[in-house]
Symmetry: C2
Subunit: 187 residues, 2 copies
DNA sequence: GTCTATAATTCGATAGAC
DNA sequence: GTCTATCGAATTATAGAC
């Protein structure tokens, strides 16, 4: 079947996202992506140049974080956890990055860029001017990424079994404390 | 140079651990491991059969968790974080698993086994008989793994820059709450 | 826009000489 | 115990016909 240039490119990109999300950068092959897209492997090269550029296109995405300023101040932790659960389950974008960033330097760089350019501005606006803003945002990111790792990648039974509400009830306060609490405060 | 069987095997295993820790299962090659060990690639096959068995040998390890029963009850979170920071920085064993478990099914299975067979018994003894023991242990694992991911793999600047004491002060209470607190409790 | 053919590497694995 | 030689498969990437 003859398709338009745009159609073809979009089909390849969708197949690439799926493969990169499941297999990570090294195991995902141009051949397997082409097969999923029901197209010849050379077409992938034609439209994206090489594997690296294809990954760059597939890994491009927007966290779509809400502004925290408008939220109840005691509620930002839970809201953030809910938002990230939605983003993890909504599409493969975050999984593409996580699965590749562990062994691929370029993907890890992307992760850091997204942290700096998309998460930091949002938490900074909430936190105001303070010198531990980077630490607090990074700690929140560590828990959110760790939760995704345990639930979607490593598939630890108890975390897989927990409901969205349970996860928010447990992890929300952690993120809340990282963003708004004192280090020593707990329980 | 002619070496003994034991020597050779140990040298190969050490090189394998390093490579798997840095590159993960797919990128680490038998050839590169052999080169690091200054030995012929065929020797690796001779001693370990195939790549899968070599990984199994390299990924075998003991968390060496302390018994929590003997500790101050309000202190287990901080002690666990300290212990894991030591284990992450002491040798490559945990990194071997983390770098591979994200894209390799066998490594992920190993991770779950270590969680179930080494972490669970220790937290269960501390928690006593209760039905949310698995959830609590898994939540603690999610934060500890997320911290390692941010600090050692993704290298988020703020987390890399934080001292051991700062990390314990921030993350200790989180683990403490997962093991001993109530879900809603925070700040 | 699509595909065939193929170059150039690289990998895991095996056979066998010394 | 160590190495050479090599197979067979898979990969990215390119050139060019239709």
């Amino acid at each position: 079947m003859r398709r338009s240039s745009e159609q073809t490119k979009a089909t390849i990109l969708a197949a690439a996202r799926e493969r990169f999300a499941v297999d990570g950068y090294e195991r995902a092959t141009i051949r397997s992506i082409a097969a999923d897209a029901a197209i010849d492997p050379s077409m992938v090269m034609r439209y994206f140049g090489n594997k690296e550029k294809l990954f760059a296109a597939a890994a491009e995405f927007d966290l779509q974080l809400p502004r925290l300023a408008g939220l109840d101040r005691d509620d930002v932790g839970a809201r953030l956890v809910e938002h990230f659960l939605d983003r993890w389950e909504g599409d493969e974008a975050l999984m593409v990055l996580l699965r590749s960033a562990v062994t691929n330097a370029e993907a890890a760089h992307r992760m850091r860029a997204i942290f700096a350019e998309q998460l930091r501005p949002v938490t900074d606006e909430f936190l105001g001017e303070r010198d531990d803003g980077g630490q607090r945002a990074a700690l929140a990111a560590s828990q959110i990424l760790g939760l995704a790792l345990a639930r979607y990648v490593l598939r630890f039974d108890p975390v897989v079994a927990m409901s969205r509400a349970e996860l928010v009830a447990w992890v929300g306060p952690t993120v809340q404390r990282y963003l708004a609490g004192r280090p020593e405060a707990s329980v």
